[in-house]
């Protein structure tokens, strides 16, 4: 009991026995510092958003104007030729299709497998549960670069070299997703299962009709995180795919940049903008979920 509430800080911080949320320490008087602070924050925001806005505006200039300085941040008369050019130079439909297929299957696969595994770890009893869960968690610490050589061999051995399946299969088992879903299921009362079993539901039915629907928000977080990560992934596709017809978007973009050399910036940037659109959609609709998912388990 005590060990769970006391995370070592209780000794020197009275706050831990108070438990009140804070955001704003009370400062009653006039703050000249408010202006300074806001200015600094605005500067920082301009630095994070500026490069992206520049990318967008430059992609809307005509290829011949794309080098012009000073940069005009507002494209008064947008020129979409660069976008047309991207479609000509790059089989962007195929790249988007590949990326969407890989990312979509991984996301759905992770949602389903993590929900099943998370539920088993949270509510089912079996021998070695604790030990197995520790092993699953431990795999989170192994960097992908360390296992990539054997994974590459394994993929070759399975005859999956240079296929989209090579990208999908190894990415579906997810330690982090399992961890998230286990947390989520543990937040759902075990009494639900008891009630369901009194009503005569089988354990499978209990999961399928009672727990899984309730865990949808958790699964959404797993899916959104998986989408964001794998849509942007570069390292594994670089190694596991060889032919351009199996490239995903980030690879295609880098190759587009290579083809053009110092050619037209606006064409490359148009490609970059196109690749950002799905990320933007996820950002707009899933920002909260993404933030919660990313910081989950960090003891925040």
């Amino acid at each position: 009991m005590t060990t769970t509430t006391d995370h070592g800080l209780a000794g020197h911080s009275p706050r831990l026995s108070q438990g009140l949320p804070i955001t704003t320490p009370n400062r009653k008087k006039f703050n000249g510092s408010f202006a300074v602070r806001t200015l600094l924050l605005l500067l920082a925001a301009a630095l994070t958003l500026g490069p992206v806005l520049w990318t967008l505006s430059t992609s809307l200039r005509s290829p011949s104007e794309s080098f012009k300085l000073p940069p005009s941040f507002i494209p008064w008369n947008p020129d979409f030729t660069s976008y047309g050019e991207v479609f000509k130079q790059l089989n962007i439909f195929l790249l988007v299709l590949n990326s969407a297929l890989v990312t979509g299957v991984i996301a759905v696969g992770q949602m389903v497998s993590a929900a099943l595994t998370g539920y088993a770890f949270a509510h089912l009893k079996f021998r070695g549960r604790g030990a197995l869960f520790s092993i699953v968690l431990a795999t989170m610490m192994v960097p992908v670069q360390v296992t990539i050589v054997p994974v590459f061999m394994l993929i070759r051995g399975m005859g999956l070299s240079d296929t989209l399946l090579a990208l999908i299969l190894p990415a579906i088992p997810t330690a982090f997703g399992t961890f998230l879903m286990r947390q989520y299921f543990m937040g759902l009362p075990a009494e639900l299962a008891e009630a369901a079993s009194i009503d005569g539901a089988s354990p499978w039915r209990t999961f399928r009709s009672v727990y899984a629907p309730l865990a949808m928000p958790g699964m959404a977080i797993v899916g959104i995180l998986a989408f964001n990560f794998h849509w942007n992934e570069f390292f594994r596709p670089l190694i596991l795919t060889i032919s351009e017809q199996n490239f995903t978007l980030p690879l295609g973009l880098v190759s587009l940049q290579g083809n053009l050399g110092t050619g037209s910036i606006s064409v490359v940037l148009a490609g970059v903008v196109l690749s950002m659109i799905p990320a933007l959609v996820v950002f707009i609709f899933g920002q909260r979920a993404l933030q919660d998912g990313l910081t989950a388990g960090t003891g925040k």
Binding site: T4, T5, V142, Q145, V146, L154, N228, I239, L253
Partner: protein, 341 residues
């Protein structure tokens, strides 16, 4: 006992923490749970046990095949010479000694260490300063705007970011040099000199990743109650007379209370920085010279360009050992501060 976080959270964590021990207790007590009929319960339990394995199968089999087996294989492979074409030959520790003496590998590990130190320091400093500023009094919509702005780069792919950053840092027509010229600074050869390239790789990496540490700090700050500051004010730590007290308040109250968050944020930042690849690969391909070659880039090059799979594995094992050492240090340091599960 009154709790700090919502009470619902606590028991869950408690159960999670003790999962190894509770698994057995649950199994025992679970029997007497719902139904009275003894025979039926044992049947249900039995049923549940194999159901659990079916639930676990996709993840556990997949992890075994694609993570656990490769880890073992990687370690084994580090002791062999193998180019995929001819049969592997056992060479003992040769790969390790060759790798350790290889100047490129040495430089790349050194680069990685310098990168980690500078990038992580910048990332954490920036994130902490911004988080503290955002958490002070300001209109809610403005706070939401700043949070989103700092979080935004995280959702982009490192490859696309590196692509547009390459243009921004171009010596002749890059916008960065154009801005510098406005204040009279002559064009900086960002991507064509070793120092410039290293700086760009660090800046681009920090630009994209500080938002993550920022989120962690926001979470940490949100758990410091107002009372602490009031108590500190009474004690005289914040006399609240002039602006300077703000700094003292943060130095003496915020910073110590934020130490658990800082620890977690720094270790996560270090582990991810040790694995940097996308940015240097797209921005500079490791050059000029070896100036921006990182440990992971060397793994990639020796395996997939030179087909020296044994050496690549040896480098990978070395990198893992470094990461494990840091993580172990973290576990020792943080045992008292942070919950795991």
């Amino acid at each position: 006992m009154s709790t700090t976080t919502p009470p619902r959270e606590r028991p869950r964590r408690a159960a999670g923490r003790a999962s190894t021990t509770t698994a057995r207790t649950h199994a025992a007590s679970g029997t007497s749970g719902a139904s009275g009929a003894g025979g039926r319960t044992t049947g249900a339990r039995h049923n549940q046990r194999w159901l659990a394995w079916i639930f676990l199968a996709p993840t556990i089999l997949g992890m075994g095949l694609f993570t656990l087996v490769p880890i073992v294989a990687s370690v084994v492979l580090a002791f062999f010479r193998w180019d995929i074409i001819s049969a592997p030959t056992f060479v003992g520790f040769d790969n390790f000694s060759e790798v350790v003496q290889d100047p490129t590998v040495r430089v790349s590990f050194l680069n990685t260490i310098v990168f980690v130190v500078v990038a992580v320091a910048l990332q954490l400093g920036l994130a902490l300063a911004l988080a503290v500023m955002v958490q002070e009094k300001m209109p809610a919509w403005l706070r939401v705007f700043f949070r989103s702005a700092f979080f935004f780069p995280l959702i982009l792919s490192a490859a696309s970011v590196s692509i547009f950053m390459r243009y921004l840092f171009n010596e002749q027509f890059g916008v960065v040099n154009w801005f510098l010229s406005l204040v009279g600074i002559p064009a900086v050869p960002w991507l064509t000199t070793p120092g410039g390239s290293a700086a760009v790789v660090i800046l681009v990496y920090v630009w994209q990743n500080f938002g993550f540490s920022f989120l962690l700090f926001i979470g940490g700050l949100a758990s410091i109650p107002v009372e602490t500051y009031e108590a500190a004010a009474i004690d005289g730590a914040t006399a609240a007379i002039d602006g300077a007290t703000g700094w003292r308040k943060h130095l003496h109250v915020t910073l110590p209370l934020l130490s658990p968050t800082t620890l977690v944020a720094s270790v996560m930042a270090i582990i991810s920085a040790l694995q940097v690849f996308d940015q240097p690969y797209v921005l500079t391909r490791g050059g000029p010279g070896d100036s921006t070659r990182t440990a992971v880039m060397v793994i990639f090059e020796s395996a997939f360009q030179r087909l020296e799979f044994g050496q690549a594995s040896a480098i990978g094992v070395l990198l893992t050992l470094i990461i494990m050492a840091i993580t172990a240090a973290q576990f020792r340091l943080s045992k008292r501060f942070v919950f795991y599960q």
